[in-house]
């Protein structure tokens, strides 16, 4: 399964794959210089709540192997900030060389990151952002521009509606939100809200989906009972979208692009799992804003730079695409950049 994700990623962000190889080469040279032997990295992961998260973890595990001179200690926090704080404290006691943190929420990191700084351990943040008083508390951040993802997906919807001559006031959207307070939730929600305001769509309700299939299903079926005019379900990740599709189908409705004919359009994010791509191909999901989970190589590059005393950029965005199974829209423009839609053929 992992391989397929990898190859899929390969077709979407070719550059990063090349990076891996380059870095791996330099790494082999490097190894002889360090007396300690292995570089110990403590990685506090949020959990395993979604396919994206798993691909993210896999990417880290596959990158930081013993063969390449790393010792990765992975701590699964099971969605709890408290567990992450405990994990970081354990890392400090074990005197790891680097701490990689994929924070569950943005707030509440000051204390523990100060401890890490005092202990002289550099911290690299991945995926979601942290909100700290002193930006020096972490070395750098690697992740996606979630707001951009949201804006791209909305731009696709706008283009699609224009092409199909659907009036903005006929677009009735519900937003199945991700884990409240997560950067991705905040960014994707903001992207949607801005677009709703700019285009005059109806945003019927925002519901909590917590990035899980079960919650997505539950929220959607509740909303379907409440509103009978929903025609766009904006899910903030794939797992929520799977749940939403189930809910729509078990309520006796159909998913698809043809919203004027009573179908319900599902828009989603991440696009890491085969199933999501499959759904996009056969039109169950109309549009997926990709969120690249392959942070491992980027983090490795940063660590290599740090080892050599090079200060990396503070913020690094990964490249991301947008997929659809429908060829109505071929390219969109956001902030003066043009993005080509990856049309997934059947």
């Amino acid at each position: 399964m992992f391989l397929s994700v990898f190859s899929m990623a390969g077709c979407t962000s070719v550059s990063s794959v090349e990076d891996i190889e380059e870095v791996a080469d330099t790494q082999n040279v490097m190894e002889d210089d360090t007396d300690e032997g292995l570089i110990v990295i403590g990685f506090s992961q949020v959990g395993a709540e979604s396919d994206w998260r798993k691909a993210n973890t896999e990417s880290m595990v596959k990158t930081f192997t013993r063969e390449k001179g790393y010792d990765l200690i992975l701590e699964d926090a099971q969605q709890k900030q408290q567990n992450q704080i405990t994990a970081i404290r354990t890392f400090i006691q074990r005197e790891v060389d680097y701490i990689v943190l994929a924070p569950v929420t943005e707030d509440g990191w000051d204390t523990v990151l100060t401890e890490a700084k005092d202990a002289g351990i550099p911290v690299i943040i991945v995926d979601r952002m942290v909100n700290v008083s002193d930006p020096e508390l972490f070395k750098c951040w690697v992740g996606s521009d979630f707001e951009l993802e949201g804006r791209k997906a909305c731009e696709w919807l706008r283009n699609y509606c224009e092409n199909k001559e659907i009036a903005p006031e006929e677009v009735n959207i519900v937003d199945i939100q991700g884990t409240a307070g997560a950067s991705s939730q905040i960014g994707r929600t903001k992207g949607l809200k801005d677009a709703v305001r700019a285009n005059g769509w109806n945003l019927l309700e925002e519901a909590a989906g917590e990035y899980t299939q079960a919650k997505g299903r539950e929220a959607t079926s509740r909303l379907l009972r409440k509103y009978d005019n929903i025609n766009v379900v904006y899910c903030e990740n794939d797992n929520e979208a799977f749940g939403a599709i189930e809910a729509i189908e078990s309520a006796g409705r159909k998913v698809g692009n043809n919203i004027t004919a009573g179908q319900i359009m599902v828009i989603s994010f991440d696009g890491v799992s085969d199933q999501a791509i499959e759904y996009a191909k056969n039109g169950k999901i109309s549009c997926i804003g990709e969120c690249n989970p392959l942070h491992g190589p980027r983090v490795e590059k940063i660590i290599q730079n740090l080892q050599q005393g090079v200060t990396p950029d503070k913020y690094e965005y990964v490249d991301e695409d947008i997929f659809s199974g429908d060829s109505t829209v071929t390219s969109i423009e956001v902030d003066d950049s043009v993005y080509t839609i990856k049309i997934l053929g059947k």
Binding site: Q82, R89, T90, Q93, R94, T105, T111, A119, A180
Partner: protein, 343 residues
């Protein structure tokens, strides 16, 4: 040898189980040092266990108490979450002061104790059902109070939360060559005080001994002139009160309110009590044992984490395995002892 077996025979059940627990804890910690090395040798690692588990220690004390009395209270985790959320909302949205938030915590605990205690003791409803409903109610109320998790930024509170008490004479040199003192959080002091107070209550007060009597045999306790209903009532009052205090200590440690806070804490508290030698049938148990029970439980978690068993599910499996071994050992030891007495 026969002297030893005699001693074994004369030991009260409580002391016997306590001894097993303490021995196992030390063996485990030594094992951890031997196999895992430097991390476990640092005093701060041990104090981190205390810092992280201060709230659990308090909850487990209350749990042991109701278990000794022959009951159970599975609402403690829910109460912890409710306390955290209420205090967090109060402190941030209302800009309230820290002292009042403490009173709120204690009042929530007290209210829980009054209602649950009344239902269990005076209406004779099974404690499992009552506290199950209590747990549901607390978890539900927590969401009703506020759905989204958030960190408290109230400056007084944050100052209190970040207060560290230096443990004199202990510390270690860190990577940068700096000597760092070992420290504990305020919650640990609260937990230790509660352990001592609870130990004294159970050992030396009339009420404390009544808990054991009621747990040992309700009918007999009644005949011996103990007010059984009042005793049960008090056990729930104290347990919920401790859940309130434990909830605040938890809140003080995490500094945030969230619906998912302290999830499964009730089961951890029960597991700690059992590992600490408290029996769910009532009448047997010891607070010191419970204290070591919590430490054992979290040491295991630490070992699992630092053994590099990366998947989260290993923690669950090892804790369960440990629980299983403890239970079977307890069961076998008690059965042996019974047989020894018969002969």
């Amino acid at each position: 040898m026969s002297k030893l077996s005699n001693k074994f025979k004369d030991m009260t059940d409580t002391n016997l189980l306590l001894t097993i627990t303490i021995v196992v804890f030390f063996l485990m910690y030594i094992g951890a040092i031997v196999f895992q090395g430097k991390g476990f040798l640092k005093p701060q690692t041990f104090f981190n266990i205390l810092n992280t588990n201060a709230a659990l220690i308090i909850l487990a004390c209350g749990m042991s108490l109701v278990m000794i009395t022959g009951g159970i209270d599975i609402s403690v985790g829910g109460v912890t979450a409710l306390v955290s959320m209420c205090c967090a909302v109060y402190l941030d949205y209302k800009g309230g002061n820290v002292a009042v938030s403490m009173i709120i915590a204690i009042l929530i605990g007290l209210a829980y104790g009054l209602v649950q205690g009344f239902l269990v003791a005076y209406l004779d409803i099974q404690p499992f059902i009552v506290s199950l409903a209590g747990m549901f109610f607390a978890r539900g109320m927590t969401t009703i109070v506020n759905t989204n998790p958030f960190n408290v930024v109230n400056p007084d509170f944050v100052a209190l939360k970040d207060t560290r008490i230096i443990v004199p004479g202990m510390g270690s040199v860190n990577k940068l060559g700096k000597y760092v003192n070992a420290y504990v959080e305020i919650g640990v002091i609260v937990a230790l005080v509660i352990v001592i107070v609870m130990f004294c209550i159970l050992r030396w007060t009339k009420l404390g001994r009544s808990f054991y009597a009621v747990g040992g045999n309700k009918q007999s306790a009644l005949m011996l002139g103990i007010n059984v209903k009042h005793t049960k009532f008090m056990s729930h009052i104290i347990c919920s009160l401790l859940a309130g205090i434990g909830g605040y200590v938890y809140f003080l440690h995490v500094g945030s309110g969230a619906v998912t806070h302290a999830q499964g804490a009730e089961m951890n508290a029960i597991a700690s009590s059992i590992i600490g030698g408290t029996m769910l049938t009532g009448g047997v148990g010891n607070i010191i044992g419970t204290f070591f029970g919590v430490l054992s439980l979290s040491t295991i978690q630490n070992i699992v984490a630092s053994a590099g068993l990366d998947q989260a599910w290993w923690t669950g499996i090892t804790i369960a395995a440990m629980l299983c071994i403890f239970l079977v050992v307890q069961s076998v030891v008690m059965a042996r002892k019974k047989r020894a007495i018969k002969k």
